[in-house]
């Protein structure tokens, strides 16, 4: 199963970093569990033995006795982070009839949220209105949670209208030595997804099957694509792309919303059983 030994956090400024370290230190003292921080290269706050910009483990103060780590808690999947893509100045795909991807996915996200909450999940949206958080800000929302999955929602410019494709991240060649960090199980922010590829693939399979049952012409097997949003999420993560904005009006897309929401909720509920049992 994936790496759940810590949370990856990118801290944009020195002051936030200081605040975060303090919070993490208190949390560690209270819980006895280590936290993971990826220090910004210019923070100047790295421990002397570490290289600025590298991942480091925050340890308890030396005077504190090292507590025996508590038995790892049972893995639970309680939170779903939903990401309506684009927004604000970025409408995403635009149809000739004026349909904007950013509007449609926000409607989809609201419907999926209702269905997931009915299944007992806590749902967090990366945006609630017509704004456009960065890829990293959206990932930050997901990476701040424990026991969560991440689903990013899209509408394509192309593809057979009325069909749905579900993507997970492939194992992609990276610019430097590899996908894993020199710090054991810790993962750098920019490749946080790489320990979750198998789980993400499993989640994609389960959602894609639900989509194939509801939307004629949809594949029964999921797809792999290096979607930017997925790479920095340290949790099982998939992208769902509905086709397409090329339809003459929004009505056909809106009609897909309830089926999409129900299918996603059922698939996530089924995935929860596998996730919590430790299977793949």
């Amino acid at each position: 199963m994936g790496n759940d030994s810590g949370i990856l956090v990118r801290v944009p400024s020195q002051s936030k970093y200081l605040l975060f370290v303090c919070v993490m230190a208190v949390a560690q003292v209270l819980s006895g569990t280590p936290g993971l921080v990826q220090a910004p290269a210019n923070s100047g706050l790295s421990a002397p033995q570490t290289t600025p910009g590298t991942t480091q483990q925050v340890s308890p103060a030396p005077s504190q006795p090292l507590a025996e780590p508590p038995p790892s808690p049972q893995k639970t999947l309680a939170v779903v982070v939903l990401d309506p893509a684009h927004g604000g100045a970025d409408p995403g795909a635009r149809g000739s009839s004026g349909i904007a991807e950013s509007d449609v996915v926000l409607s989809f996200a609201r419907l999926v949220r209702i269905s997931l909450e009915a299944q007992g999940f806590r749902v967090i949206l990366t945006r609630q209105a017509n704004d456009d958080p960065s890829f990293d800000d959206r990932s930050k929302t997901a990476n701040a949670q424990r026991g969560n999955i991440f689903i990013t929602l899209h509408v394509a410019s192309t593809g057979q209208p009325g069909t749905v494709r579900v993507y997970s991240m492939p194992r992609m060649a990276l610019p430097d030595s590899g996908a894993t960090s020199p710090h054991g199980s810790l993962l750098p922010w920019d490749r946080a997804q790489f320990n979750f590829i198998d789980q993400s693939r499993r989640l994609a399979e389960m959602i894609q099957i639900q989509m194939a049952q509801r939307f004629h012409g949809s594949s029964e097997t999921p797809f792999e694509a290096p979607a930017r949003q997925l790479r920095t999420v340290g949790a099982p993560a998939v992208a769902i792309e509905v086709s397409s904005v090329s339809v003459p009006s929004r009505a056909p897309l809106d009609q897909m919303g309830p089926g999409l929401a129900d299918g996603v909720a059922r698939a996530v509920a089924a995935f929860k059983i596998i996730y919590e049992s430790g299977g793949k």
């Binding site: 060649a173 797809f223 792309e241």
Partner: protein, 211 residues
């Protein structure tokens, strides 16, 4: 008729004759002024679109990966006669320019027709770096599916026609871009299947998920 009136009529007649003689020239001058000046991008494209030819060019049947007209959302190798250089860098440039400009119909285009290849490099380890103009991103239909098909048409066309390329890095206007058009991650390298693993006569469409 008074002398003054006659003089006036003669002057007016002379002016009309002069006007008629000058009219075609004025019309041409006006048309020249109405024609917008060539933009820098248009001038650059005219230069770039000149077919690249090298002394080692040999006309061969190249396999170009455009959209399949029969199987939606997949690529299909289309054979075309193309003069290709023996030099892998020049050969790659010729292929990518043809991929942009020589699609048999607009429906099978994978790359925006207004895009152009600015530079191409091939490193000794088999890493190819293709640098495209801004139109490569701005003219691309947004979506995971369309962006992935664009990337795969480049990788598969290079893999099928140029030996020694193992992976591909895509730049936009000389810079590393975060995404191609809002979705596809350009952070890493895309795998390129070599000549040996790509059957030139294969007719089966390549699914976008096959990597």
């Amino acid at each position: 008729m008074s002398k003054g009136l006659k003089t006036t009529i003669m002057i007016l007649s002379a002016m009309v004759i002069v006007g008629l003689i000058a009219l075609p020239g004025l019309r041409q001058a006006l048309q020249r002024l109405q024609k917008p000046a060539k933009t820098e991008e248009q001038s650059r494209r005219e230069v770039m679109e000149e077919p690249i030819s090298t002394p080692t060019d040999v006309k061969v049947q190249a396999q170009m990966y455009w959209l399949s007209p029969s199987t939606p959302n997949s690529l299909e190798p289309t054979p075309i006669q193309l003069p290709l250089s023996a030099d892998p860098v020049e050969r790659s440039k010729q292929l990518l320019n043809a991929l942009i400009l020589r699609a048999p119909s607009p429906e099978v285009h994978t790359l925006p027709a207004q895009a152009s290849l600015l530079a191409f490099y091939l490193q000794p380890d088999g890493t190819a770096i293709a640098d495209f103009s801004d139109e490569f991103s701005s003219g691309m239909p947004s979506g995971i599916l369309s962006e992935q098909l664009a990337e795969q048409s480049i990788a598969q066309t290079l893999g099928a026609n140029v030996s020694g390329i193992k992976q591909l890095k895509i730049l936009v206007h000389g810079q590393e871009a975060e995404t191609l058009a809002g979705h596809l991650d350009l952070y890493g390298f895309f795998p390129v299947s070599g000549l040996a693993s790509v059957a030139p006569t294969a007719s089966a469409p390549a699914p976008p998920s096959a990597r």
